[in-house]
């Protein structure tokens, strides 16, 4: 099926069917959901790459679609993440309080995603965004914390509202709600206003500093199969708005001649950098594996913003590639954590250990995902980081450089934390009976592993597609052949790196295998300075992993949380003040206001 409209209607219908099926049998309903999403993915992949989707609208009133490379790129990534995650549903849903509605809302939000990326109308865009927000908002409280939904919704809605104000300014200026005509008509002060508003929206959705507070709360507390969607897919909506603002609007502000970059873009890049640094520092400190990954999403959001604020093809290529790479990596990592959480019932790293011995495949999935996340070859994350570094260095952005390098090295630290504390280390007694995730859950795991490697070894095809987007946005694409990527200051051959890595590992393996076989000993049989330690927990180093480093900034680490708590408290106090001023039990207060207003008016006009 190649019609966007029909796909959306199909998803709505499928949602209803899934609701009914889930009501009778959770497993059945979830399987149906998998097939529904798969159908959408296949249709999208089958027709979308060639821009062959049918965008005519016959049934839905007031909605119009158009096909762009940009929209399709986002849509296919997000639908893919949805598809991967849906494989997890059969095993998780039965625990949830309102499991019937889970699949319904899941599919509805996917319908929203399709609409949002295919529409060419601002009001439709807003409509679909809001749809996504509220459908997903109801999924979150099915997890651990009920308050998480509020925080997620609050920030998302704030972002949407900022965007909507921007949309209306655009409408006021241009008289049209068409995205492309509208943005093209902006100029001068209006453009700056809309730019700022859209950037706020992008930051809120992307969970970037300073609008990031919701990210760990929502990701950390969402249902386990939903966290990958949040991190891998939904925050990318922010990137989409970011692209609209940074590239499509790109207001004519002053220029930093040193970097040949508009001030607006530079400010965004700096904020993105702060996002990287804060995300990294907070992730290093975090104990909950899911929250840790959430902070890492924040930091990666920063990379995306930095990439899109450097106005040239190579940076855009990096940004777009990073969106893909991070979606795959974070989905993989979150899903691995989800599998562990299903088996053990916790995501706190200090309570876990040695999961590798029972869940080796999950471990591998996590390993590959984090290698990509840390930007290490031969995984996808390296390609995008390499491209972004090229652009940053080429522009000579020192302070942004500090942030991107810090984030990149810092990511080694935080991604290693779950690896060491959760998967490796001593095998804790309470998890000795844990089993590997069931086969259905391993399918997406394997697919994601494969794709993480594929994106890191053969990025040529994808980058060629990204070039289409860049050209569509009005910039020149990057030079890329099947195996080589040509950056501004260097050539990269990811396939060669992959090959050489294989050769190196082969040599190492040979050395290993010809030498004498090792004697297998128990994990507890370790060097303890000849002390007898008989409790795994005592030999497991998981609490406050980076304690010496954390100590350096522990005082500063909750500033933003404090700020937002204080903000909420201030609003509440304002409300109390309002009640005191206007809602008094004393009638004379009302009379006072009436008299005051009349006097004010008469004083100004008549007297």
């Amino acid at each position: 099926m190649a019609s966007v409209e029909l796909l959306i209607l199909f998803l709505v219908g499928a949602g209803v069917i899934a609701y009914i099926l889930t009501r009778f049998n959770t497993f059945l309903g979830s399987i149906f959901t998998i097939f529904a999403v798969m159908f959408v993915f296949v249709s999208l992949a089958g027709y979308g790459f060639g821009m062959n989707m049918d965008t005519t609208v016959n049934i839905l009133p007031g909605i119009s679609f158009t096909e762009t490379y940009l929209g399709f790129y986002f849509a296919i990534i997000i639908v893919f993440v949805y598809l991967m995650v849906s494989f997890f549903h059969p095993y998780y849903l039965s625990e949830y309080k309102y499991k019937n509605s889970y699949n319904l809302l899941f599919l509805l939000s996917l319908a929203g995603i399709l609409g949002a990326f295919y529409t060419d109308n601002f009001l439709n865009l807003f409509f679909f965004f809001e749809l996504i927000i509220w459908t997903t908002m109801f999924l979150i409280p099915q997890g651990k914390s009920k308050e998480a939904a509020v925080s997620y919704f609050g920030f998302s809605i704030a972002g949407s509202v900022a965007m909507l104000i921007g949309i209306f300014i655009t409408y006021n200026v241009s008289g049209t709600f068409s995205i492309y005509q509208g943005l093209a008509a902006l100029s001068g002060t209006n453009a700056i206003f809309v730019f700022v508003l859209f950037i706020i929206a992008a930051f809120a959705k992307l969970g970037s500093f300073p609008l990031h507070i919701w990210l760990p709360i929502a990701h950390g507390n969402a249902p386990h199969p939903f966290s990958p969607v949040l991190s891998g897919a939904l925050v990318k909506l922010g990137a989409f708005i970011g692209v609209l603002a940074l590239i499509r609007i790109a207001p004519a502000t002053g220029l930093f001649t040193a970097m040949d970059l508009p001030i607006g873009q530079y400010v965004v890049a700096i904020l993105g950098s702060m996002s990287i640094v804060f995300g990294t520092l907070m992730a290093i400190k975090e104990d909950d594996a899911k929250k840790l990954l959430a902070y890492s999403s924040m930091s990666h959001g920063g990379y995306i913003l930095v990439a899109f604020s450097i106005l040239n093809g190579i940076a855009f290529a990096g940004g777009f590639y990073h969106i893909l790479a991070h979606a795959l990596a974070s989905a993989g990592a979150f899903m691995a954590i989800a599998a562990v959480a299903r088996a053990t019932g916790t995501t706190k790293m200090k309570e876990l250990g040695g999961m590798i011995h029972k869940m080796p495949i999950t471990y591998l999935a996590y390993l590959i995902a984090i290698i990509s996340m840390a930007g290490i070859p031969p995984m996808g994350g390296f390609i995008s980081k390499w491209l972004i570094f090229q652009a940053v260095i080429d522009k000579g952005m020192i302070f942004v450089g500090i942030a991107v390098f810090f984030g990149s090295v810092g990511s080694f630290l935080y991604v290693f934390r779950p690896l060491a504390a959760l998967f490796l280390g001593q095998e804790l007694t309470e998890y000795k009976k844990v089993k590997e995730a069931p086969l259905l859950m391993l399918i997406p795991t394997f697919i994601l592993m494969g794709l993480n490697v594929y994106t890191g070894v053969f990025p040529g095809g994808i980058l060629k597609f990204i070039n289409n987007i860049i050209v569509e946005l009005g910039y020149t694409g990057i030079e890329v052949s099947t195996y080589e990527i040509n950056g501004t200051n260097g050539i990269l051959n990811p396939a060669l790196i992959g090959l050489i890595f294989a050769v190196g590992s082969g040599i190492a393996f040979l050395i290993f295998i010809v030498l004498k076989k090792s004697r297998k000993v128990e994990l507890m049989d370790t060097y303890t300075a000849a002390n007898f330690v008989h409790d795994e927990h005592l030999l497991h180093y998981a609490v406050d992993f980076y304690a010496p480093l954390e100590r350096l900034y522990e005082k500063q680490s909750n500033w933003m949380t404090k700020f937002y708590t204080a903000l909420a408290e201030k609003v509440r106090e304002l409300g109390k003040l309002g009640k005191y001023l206007f809602m008094s039990k004393n009638i004379s207060t009302t009379v006072f206001w009436i008299v005051a207003i009349i006097i004010f008016l008469l004083w100004g006009e008549v007297l």
């Binding site: 409509f127 908002m137 409300g575 009640k579």
Partner: protein, 463 residues
């Protein structure tokens, strides 16, 4: 058939019902149905009962009614809602049927009248009915406060009317509009308009004249909550809309003051709701904000979407107050903490409540979204970006507290609570939620009407 029947028959029924208490409830049902049916047969136009003649130029005192699409929509809503609310409370609040008849007469009069003095009379009639209705709260002090503030408001209104009469020598609204247009002196009408605006503002829950609301709605039950927050609020908004669009001339500092007051009302209402933990307070403060938005829309000439907003709000608030007040009655507390897990065993009610709330918040697939988007578009069309920003910022706060409330109600706390809703409640909830859902996804019928549903200016221009 004459529009005056809409007023006279309820009034007559009210008198009869005092004589025979037993038939009163059935009388109300019959009269309500009669009114709704009658509305189908009535034709648009002016009705003169005495005093004024058709040309409206000789006698300056009299009674005149105006029925147009605007009034017709309002009347349907009001009569229908009263009927529904009464049906739902048929058992528990039978004794209030004559009062409701009185309220019906008064509100119908308010919406139909074309005469300022009669308007005052109906204001008083409906006001008295409202005070009596709120006595069902069993909070006499709050009711008394409502009464006093209401009296202040209506006397201010009357004072404004007196001044206008003194200036233009007429009480017929249409004639007066013509006269004001002819004189074109805005400065001299500023005093009466201010007074009238304040007088209406008291009833329409506009900040800062609405101190009574907290006492009245904060202790409301299944009758008073929907009646005051749904029916009365809608009726007063309609009336206010008519006055603002046609009679009042807001210019200069008056416009600024009014706009600031309304904007403040939106923000303050939502902020106050944000700081509340009691469910009923949340609802009532949110309706303050909504009332301010409606008034703001009328000030900016966005009539049709304001009308839809009034209707949607009246329906939504009816559902919300019914759900919450019933639960409060059964649980014995309206703290949102105490109501945790209300919907665990009432999934259907929960679903409808959620849909209705989403509509109030203006989220897609529901009527509230269509309405919000359309009125914002019209505001943007006239360049009111600041107002849009204010409305939207307030909607963020609104979203947060509503989501907080919904999540609380869906997920249980330590103790389970059991609240039973009977089928008539559920039926009403479903119908309203479905209506919001249908108009939210299929909005074509809504766009058929435009701002010309209010025909007063037409009448004025055509003489």
């Amino acid at each position: 058939m004459n529009a005056v029947l809409l007023i006279v028959i309820p009034l007559l029924a009210a008198f009869i019902s005092i004589v025979s208490k037993k038939i009163a409830p059935y009388l109300l049902l019959v009269v309500g149905l009669f009114n709704i049916v009658l509305l189908f047969f009535l034709e648009n136009g002016l009705v003169f009962i005495g005093g004024f003649d058709v040309a409206m130029n000789s006698d300056l005192l009299g009674i005149s009614l105006l029925l147009d699409t605007y009034a017709r929509m309002a009347l349907w809503l009001i009569n229908g809602l009263i009927l529904v609310i009464f049906c739902l409370n048929f058992k528990s609040y039978k004794a209030f049927s004559s009062i409701l008849l009185l309220a019906m007469a008064g509100l119908n009069g308010l919406l139909l009248t074309n005469d300022l003095f009669n308007f005052f009379v109906f204001l008083e009639i409906s006001g008295i009915a409202a005070y009596l209705i709120t006595s069902a709260n069993k909070k006499p002090v709050s009711t008394f406060r409502y009464l006093v503030i209401g009296a202040i408001g209506s006397s201010l209104f009357l004072f404004g009317v007196v001044v206008l009469y003194a200036m233009y020598g007429t009480l017929n609204m249409i004639v007066m509009i013509q006269a004001i247009q002819a004189s074109g002196n805005y400065a001299e009408v500023i005093l009466p308009f201010t007074l009238m605006f304040i007088g209406l503002g008291v009833e329409a829950k506009l900040l800062p004249f609405n101190a009574w609301v907290k006492g009245v709605l904060g202790h409301s039950n299944t009758l008073t909550g929907p009646m005051i927050a749904g029916v009365y609020a809608a009726a007063m908004s309609f009336v206010l809309g008519r006055f603002i669009t046609n009679l009042f001339v807001f210019e200069g500092s008056l416009l600024i003051v009014v706009t600031v007051l309304l904007a403040l009302g939106i923000l303050a209402g939502d902020v106050m709701a944000f700081s509340s933990t009691k469910t009923r307070e949340i609802l009532l403060f949110s309706s303050i904000a909504q009332a301010s938005i409606v008034a703001l829309l009328f000030v900016n000439g966005v009539i049709i979407w304001a009308v839809y907003l009034i209707i949607a709000n009246a329906l939504s608030k009816t559902v919300m107050f019914l759900v919450i007040n019933k639960a409060t009655k059964d649980v014995g507390s309206d703290e949102s903490e105490a109501l945790r897990g209300l919907f665990v065993n009432n999934k259907l009610v929960g679903l409808t409540f959620t849909l209705v709330t989403l509509s109030v918040m203006g989220l897609p697939l529901l009527a509230g979204f269509v309405i919000k988007l359309n009125f914002l578009t019209q505001l943007a069309g006239i360049g009111q970006i600041v107002l849009i920003a204010i409305i939207l910022v307030a909607s963020v706060i609104e979203g947060i507290y509503f989501v907080r409330l919904i999540v609380k109600l869906w997920y249980p706390g330590e103790s389970e609570i059991s609240v039973k809703y009977n089928y008539s409640f559920k039926a009403v909830f479903i119908v309203i939620a479905l209506a919001l859902l249908v108009f939210g996804t299929y909005s074509t019928p809504l766009t058929k009407l435009d701002n010309t549903i209010d025909t007063v200016m037409e009448v004025v221009n055509n003489g």
